[in-house]
């Protein structure tokens, strides 16, 4: 028996299909191992931490098991969940960023004088380290410094200008704008890449049919790049929910700019409530998963017409209904034929 099994495996391993599977597995095992060690195992540990009351240096046996108490705290404390409200600012900023990026990408995908130069300028901020960007903007927004001087040149008087980082009604928008400045280029470049893959003949055909530029954009470009748009929206929303770098470097999260991540960082590292912070992280993950699922449904609805090349959504629905009806009818016939016998 054993021999037969072995020879069976050996035979399979030396066959073409077997070899393919073995090579795939061999190549995949190293990155999977790294993923396991550096992402999934630490994540598992963090989920474990979220059920305990502990500090970083608490030896394992002194950690106190508290069950769901940390999760209840996350929802009842006014600073944890309240910080998510600030993410709304960043989401609005992300949507503005999306629209701007699409617009600029469409413009720059076609022959524009100095197009490459513009692409370079807009993409450049993404290459600078986030911390350096934070420092630049800290001085940019200081009273009487760069931004105020530019506005004064445009004719505003210093007394009418708000304190960009001190005034709690504008400081979040200030931070959102630095984030948009930084990531606009990256989004735009992704869109340019996607738009370039659209077949040029389609534009000619559309022009012959009398479509203007906006109609071309809406009916040709947008459906063709829908995967990239979906991806960028998911990235943008995830990024907004977990905004950390800009507020941390520019204002250390003080003065009403403390986003969810910053509060989590303070709780974990200053107050050393590692269990509570881990619970916050898990809750954020669940929120992001829910958002991603909602987005998928939303985009499936928006792009329902473009999931197939030959038929529209309505036609597809009609066809499917007809198929189901025929199946039902066949079944009934079979049953009555059997019953009849």
């Amino acid at each position: 028996m054993a021999n037969k099994k072995q020879s069976g495996f050996g035979k399979w391993a030396s066959s073409r299909k077997g070899q393919q599977v073995i090579i795939c597995a061999a190549f995949a095992i190293i990155p999977l191992l790294l993923l396991l060690v550096f992402t999934y195992i630490p994540f598992g540990e963090m989920v474990k931490f979220s059920f305990y009351k502990m500090k970083y240096t608490t030896p394992v046996e002194k950690r106190e098991f508290v069950g769901l108490a940390n999760y209840i705290d996350v929802f009842t404390r006014k600073d944890c969940f309240g910080a998510l409200k600030l993410s709304l600012y960043y989401i609005v900023g992300a949507l503005v960023q999306l629209v701007l990026a699409l617009f600029l990408a469409t413009l720059l995908s076609f022959r524009v004088k100095g197009g490459n130069l513009f692409k370079g300028f807009i993409f450049f901020p993404y290459l600078i380290s986030g911390i350096a960007v934070g420092f630049i903007f800290k001085f940019f927004f200081t009273r009487g410094f760069v931004f105020d001087s530019i506005l004064q040149l445009c004719g505003f008087s210093l007394d009418n200008l708000p304190y960009w980082l001190k005034d709690q009604s504008v400081n979040n928008w200030t931070l959102v704008s630095t984030s948009v400045w930084r990531y606009l280029g990256q989004m735009m470049v992704l869109f340019i890449g996607a738009i370039m893959s659209v077949d040029a003949e389609l534009y000619e055909a559309a022009e012959l049919d009398g479509a203007n530029k906006f109609q071309q954009f809406r009916y040709i470009i947008l459906p063709s790049i829908k995967t990239i748009v979906t991806l960028n929206v998911i990235l943008a929303i995830t990024g907004s929910l977990s905004a950390f770098e800009q507020p941390f470097v520019i204002t250390t999260g003080a003065n009403g700019t403390g986003t969810y991540f910053i509060i989590m960082n303070k709780i974990a590292h200053t107050s050393q409530k590692v269990g509570l912070a881990s619970a916050m992280a898990v809750v954020l993950l669940l929120i992001i998963l829910i958002c991603a699922a909602l987005q998928k449904l939303f985009f499936e609805y928006i792009f329902k017409d473009s999931s197939s090349d030959d038929e529209s959504y309505k036609a597809k629905k009609l066809r499917k209904k007809q198929e189901r009806d025929t199946k039902k009818y066949m079944k009934q016939m079979a049953v009555s034929a059997k019953g009849g016998k």
Binding site: P59, Y163, G253, A254
Partner: protein, 482 residues
């Protein structure tokens, strides 16, 4: 089918991996109970050289080492991890690490010390400890007293060490001293003598009212000068205000480590311009009366040194370690001075002094490394001149120091009572007020509320009192002080 099999194996692997965590936990439990019983037997009192260290025989303790004669041929390689990144560069204004090590190696040529510095020291040091793979000598970060013996070796018992080293009670647990200070600082105010003199302030302010009046005088004389610069944006400069609420504000050496944890509503108004209420009220009043910088959200730590040196800033509330830095910030070193904090308890001012970072020796290092580390720490403390060069208070009893206040005593905080060592840490963590533990955001909130006028000072203090009381209740700490 195949994917199911792979998923099964992966699951089993994950679960086996998490079991591994349990195993090491038991070993750690054994190690800590072992160290605890050894510490207990030592504390029970015996003065043979063996028992003063938690380890095997053969290591000469701190007290017994004769510098210059013992161990001059000891060969070892040790690592020293600390936060003084400025002393790593050749441009440092004083003696830097390279020069100290050259002097050290003249007497001990075979002990090689590798100095590693880090700007984000406070957080990274804790990470190093948690990994289990940390340097031979490091500056003890914010660990719980009860965990000290897990990570660090004892230098000896308190009676022996206190005669050799001041402030040895900083890391004192169950009668054993785990940390020897690199430097000690006092808490006061660094100020520009010229700015104060020009405004007509001749006497050192002794009460909050005198201080606010002095700041007002500066503002009236020169509207462009910032009387009190808060350094709000840097964060840690705000948490520094917490260091003034114990000895400086109460005159009581036992307040911080013994009384504060048991006090009911420690932030309430005592009515006599003392205690924490008076300290924070100075900040609130200064901000609400416009005696601080215009835009607190964009203060800059590095440029403030030049500004105070040039007379653009009147004063800043910082520890004595800031004094040499402000002197070095510009050409007017003589204009910089240091005065005690303006709170008088029964007519007398007190200056709280305490250890800065302390040397801690890795308890898991080899015997040779531990011996070399002890020699290095003793040499740095007694012979290197580090404390004097860094404008510290005297570490070795009787040695010289560059800082002195007239008529004000330097008092160190007493250690906590046995069994209560971690109360303050636990209360800080539970209440999230983090007094003297990086609690910058609560002080930043004082400035925000004072500038916006949306919350009165009494309401802020009432909120803190509530958090403190809730934490005392949930930790089961007795409230015995009023």
């Amino acid at each position: 089918m195949k994917t199911k099999r792979i998923a099964c194996i992966a699951m089993a692997g994950l679960m086996a991996a998490s079991l591994a965590g349990c195993g090491s936990g038991d070993d750690k439990a054994d190690a800590t109970t072992k160290a605890a019983t050894e510490a207990a037997t030592e504390a029970a009192g015996s003065d043979s050289a063996d028992d003063t260290t938690a380890d095997a025989e053969g290591i000469k303790s701190y007290a017994d080492i004769q510098l210059g004669t013992d161990f001059t041929d000891l060969s070892a390689e040790i690592k020293f991890y600390n936060n003084r990144t400025d002393m790593d560069s050749d441009d440092y204004g004083g003696k830097n690490w390279k020069q100290y090590l050259e002097d050290f190696n003249k007497e001990y040529p075979n002990i090689k010390v590798d100095v590693i510095t880090d700007t984000n020291y406070a957080d990274d040091a804790l990470t190093h400890l948690q990994s289990g793979n940390y340097e031979t000598v490091m500056c003890i970060p914010a660990v719980d007293m009860a965990d000290l013996s897990t990570y660090f070796m004892s230098f000896g018992d308190y009676d022996t060490m206190s005669s050799l080293v001041n402030y040895s009670n900083r890391w004192l647990y169950q009668g054993q001293v785990y940390g020897v200070p690199l430097a000690a600082t006092t808490q006061g105010i660094v100020y520009n003598k010229k700015v104060f003199a020009d405004a007509g302030v001749t006497d050192v302010p002794k009460t909050p009212e005198e201080f606010i009046a002095a700041l007002k005088a500066i503002k009236d004389k020169n509207p462009d000068c910032i009387p009190l610069y808060t350094n709000y944006a840097a964060g840690w400069t705000m948490g520094a205000w917490d260091d003034y609420i114990s000895i400086t504000a109460t005159g009581d050496a036992t307040y911080k480590n013994q009384k504060l944890a048991h006090t009911k509503d420690p932030f309430k108004n005592y009515g006599d311009d003392t205690h924490a209420y008076a300290v924070y009220k100075i900040l609130y009043d200064a901000v609400s009366q416009g005696l601080t910088e215009d835009d607190y959200s964009t203060t800059d730590w590095e440029s403030c040194k030049g500004m105070i040196n040039n007379g653009e800033i009147g004063c800043m509330v910082l520890g004595s370690w800031a004094y040499p830095q402000m002197e070095a910030g510009g050409p007017n070193a003589d204009d910089i001075g240091y005065i005690p904090f303006p709170i008088s308890v029964n007519g007398k001012q007190y200056a709280s002094s305490g250890a800065d970072y302390c040397y801690g020796i890795n308890v898991n290092a080899s015997d040779d490394e531990k011996q070399a580390a002890l020699v290095f720490v003793k040499w740095m403390t007694e012979k290197s001149g580090y404390a004097y060069n860094e404008d510290s208070l005297a570490i070795v009893p009787g040695s010289e120091s560059k800082i002195s206040f007239d008529g004000v005593d330097f008092v160190a905080d007493e250690a906590a009572l046995e069994g209560e060592e971690d109360y303050l840490n636990q209360l800080n963590s539970e209440s999230e007020l983090n007094v003297s533990n990086g609690g910058n955001d609560k002080i930043q909130a004082i400035i925000e509320h004072a500038a916006n006028g949306d919350m009165s000072f009494d309401d802020i203090m009432a909120e803190w009192n509530q958090k403190w009381s809730d934490a005392q209740e949930s930790l089961g700490i007795e409230v015995t002080e009023k």
